[in-house]
Symmetry: C2
Subunit: 251 residues, 2 copies
């Protein structure tokens, strides 16, 4: 999969690809901002679970043999002083000796486990990107790094929500158990049909919205720094690691 | 409890005190070493679970209202370039504007839960400090921070060990499930009766040794840096937080 991407033969989203392997959100920052950002992740473990952090200038992650984080994602986003400049397919020319790379867990892991247990994942059923919302909950800041909590939402019946809590609790490093269910207004979401990221999905009779902490929080946090250069993955275009979903489960 | 300590009326170990509240290992480092140390903790979550990290110069942790980490531990250890200089009862005069404080989870939390489930905790039964050993397992290093993994050991019957795995899995931020059981030689422990820290305990007929990752790893990691000044708690003389053990359990 990574070779396909590096060879330029795959530049689309990675959802559903390399099934069973942990995929990761990416953030690249200069070293002088790395402590604050790592501290932010530590303080906000549910949206920003750290899978790996590479030392300054290192582009070979320990969680993926032979990988190169400068070329092995299908699409990257370049931010200058917090503003999106462009999307590119590799970042070798921008990567510097003091660049620190963060790889953070993503919810693709637990979606597979939900499906295996017969819990519906509507965004997959409908072939859409998951619905994501910026909540009114402030994450714990760290130095100058701050963000509202972003959540993803999957609608299901209440008894399925109970099962979903049990299942996703196991996936502690890929967002874990839901942070909220039912009443969207209680976390500052006015209209489920207008997500801030991704697409809306159908909510059927009797279903409640179930909300998980979302890795997009890490992008908002990274660009809150207004650093001269921040690189992230493009939404849905993740890094595929060698870690197995089941290997990362807490039990 | 913290007021007693700060007032100089308690300078002994904190084991068993303030029952039900999370206690923490302490490490204080200069800011220029803080990223590497936090990265070490991130990469070695089981021995070094991060409860809180205070920004440079801050001595008021978010996990303990009104607390002061310079005065609220019964005993501190001062290390100069990796060598123990002395033990003191407060460190206000040594704390500087660039000092970063780390508070890391400790196994006292799960010992209470083991006892509640009828699993023996021999060190408590015998009124001893838990047996701790430096294993042959190298932690993942981070920059210049490195350490062998240190473990604590509690002997029990195999069926009790099964229950102990289940119980301690819940306490993910206080070392979680065991990292090994049975054959001590497999992890480089030659003689259970000669622990590297703490005291030996009785191992009864039919019992096996069960090993958990231990917070003392964080002390060895911190002093591996050979920084001009590193401050830690004195073994067994922990910081008492406002967090409840049960509040920190994963489910």
């Amino acid at each position: 999969m990574r070779q396909e991407i590096r060879g330029g033969r795959w530049n689309g989203p990675t959802s559903g690809a390399a099934s069973g392997y942990v995929q990761a959100n990416l953030v690249m920052l200069p070293k002088d901002r790395a402590f604050d950002f790592l501290l932010f992740c530590t303080r906000n473990h549910k949206p920003c679970p750290v899978l790996d952090v590479l030392e300054p200038g290192n582009y070979s992650p320990g969680i993926a043999e032979g990988a190169d984080v400068r070329t092995d994602l299908p699409k990257y986003r370049i931010y200058r002083k917090g503003v999106l400049e462009k999307e590119v397919e590799e970042v070798s020319g921008l990567f510097q000796e003091d660049t620190v790379t963060f790889l953070l867990g993503c919810s693709f892991s637990f979606e597979k486990a939900l499906l295996a247990a017969g819990v519906p994942v509507r965004n997959i059923e409908e072939g859409k990107n998951v619905s994501m919302y910026i909540t009114n909950r402030e994450c714990r800041s760290a130095g100058e790094v701050s963000s509202k909590l972003v959540v993803s939402m999957r609608p299901m019946l209440p008894e399925q929500a109970v099962r979903a809590v049990q299942i996703t609790t196991r996936f502690h490093v890929t967002h874990g158990a839901p942070i909220h269910m039912g009443s969207p207004e209680a976390i500052g979401i006015d209209d489920l049909e207008n997500p801030d990221f991704g697409e809306p999905v159908t909510i059927r009779q009797g279903e409640i919205p179930v909300f998980w902490a979302c890795g997009v929080t890490s992008t908002l946090a990274a660009i809150s720094i207004k650093s001269p250069l921040v690189i992230t993955h493009a939404p849905g275009h993740m890094f595929v690691s060698d870690l197995l979903d089941e290997e990362m489960a807490i039990f």
